[in-house]
Symmetry: C2
Subunit: 279 residues, 2 copies
Amino acid sequence: MEENYFLIDCGEGTQVELRRQKIKFSRIDNIFISHLHGDHWFGLAGLISSFHLLSRTKDLHIYSPPGLKDAIISQLRLGQTHLSYFIHFHELEGKEPKVILENAKLIVKSVPLNHRIETYGFLFEEKKKLRKLNAPLLRERGVEVCDFRMLQLGNDVQSIDGKLIKNSEVTFDPPEPLKYAYCSDTAYYEPLVDWLAGVDVLYHESTFLEQNRDLATKTFHSTAKDAATIASKAKVNYLILGHFSSRYRNRDVYKEEAKRYFQNIEISEAGKIFSFENK
Amino acid sequence: MEENYFLIDCGEGTQVELRRQKIKFSRIDNIFISHLHGDHWFGLAGLISSFHLLSRTKDLHIYSPPGLKDAIISQLRLGQTHLSYFIHFHELEGKEPKVILENAKLIVKSVPLNHRIETYGFLFEEKKKLRKLNAPLLRERGVEVCDFRMLQLGNDVQSIDGKLIKNSEVTFDPPEPLKYAYCSDTAYYEPLVDWLAGVDVLYHESTFLEQNRDLATKTFHSTAKDAATIASKAKVNYLILGHFSSRYRNRDVYKEEAKRYFQNIEISEAGKIFSFENK
């Protein structure tokens, strides 16, 4: 969203993939770790070291369940690495969604999930945007530039010759703020229906198919049906499936199963870019 | 050597490279970590986890400077991973080469190096091999099969009709045992000349060229000249250079510099296989 890059989870080799995708390391200021199974954070110490080798000076924020800080610090201490920048470790907690980051443009919330160990999803909500100005009309009506900000914020203003300029006449509605939710790893978890109601884009794991319901239950993962059911009940616009098991012959089978319960399905893959925008 | 795989150092992504090279994980029983800078061990927790996911039951041995065990255990504990196999952590120490592993076929020694933090090289020495039998001649001279082992060990035996069979008449010399040494990371370190005297193959880091002697000194790394000088003084057969800085336009420059001081130079690269055998 906007010029910020948010990195969610950081398994071994993440920095290699980031380089392959030509993503500038310097634009990553916030890293969100969903849970502490190794495949979701074993690449973090390496990425932190690379930031250091690139002479980073900006602070880095890392959000994760408790315990990560000690592990990372002890890894770096063994190599006697003294970082060129400061890391803020934020510990996630709570049984309800919770604001963990807010800036001028958006709010990020942690969302509890239902996995074998403490796990959180992340909900990114854009803030309401500024109204769009009808520039030619503003010139015609004699509105001063110093009043533009008031109009963008939704207020009426006066023209140079003292006439009332109604906001609705000289501005357009801005795009609706977008909401994106990321949920991995988790079993089917009914509270998500309320917590994620109406999000534009939902990434939800679907490790298994219904034919392996027993494995999904045992390992606290979801099936494609589970993910699609959450998407349908929460009335989201798009569902992206991911975290696939290698046991199936291809990934179309996930789409096939999910399509029975929800229409707008996308399949995630390494390096794939999904663009969504509201008008 | 023989059917054993020895893994030396395990940076991030090592398991990806092992898979790419189609190396069977199950044949790795011993891992040697030279020092605890992240690029030499940040892939270890991931590899250990993969062994677990592959249902390994065999013990694993890891040799490293002190401190690694706690770091690895704490990484695995965060994910509540209970391994399917046992890991023996062996802590390296000492200011002289030291035997750290011995089996029927070889001896492995740790060799102190000279880097910014505690660092060890590794010296692999094959044990003396069995003498080779001249099978047709043994049949002709009437030697029983149960005496073959005695001949292989270098002893004389008697034939069925009681004649002395001199070992030298019915056996050939076995191949000379091979010695391989691995030295990364290290500044030029004179004691290596004695400790590695006469090894067949020496891998020695050469991060820099002489034109960047100041950087080599500052970071406790070697130049190509340093590596070649050790190889020459220790009278090794082959020198493999590696651990290259990305600052130079290509790797031929290392070979050029080293060739002035030593002849048999090889340049290491990902996936390259070097085969050496004695006759």
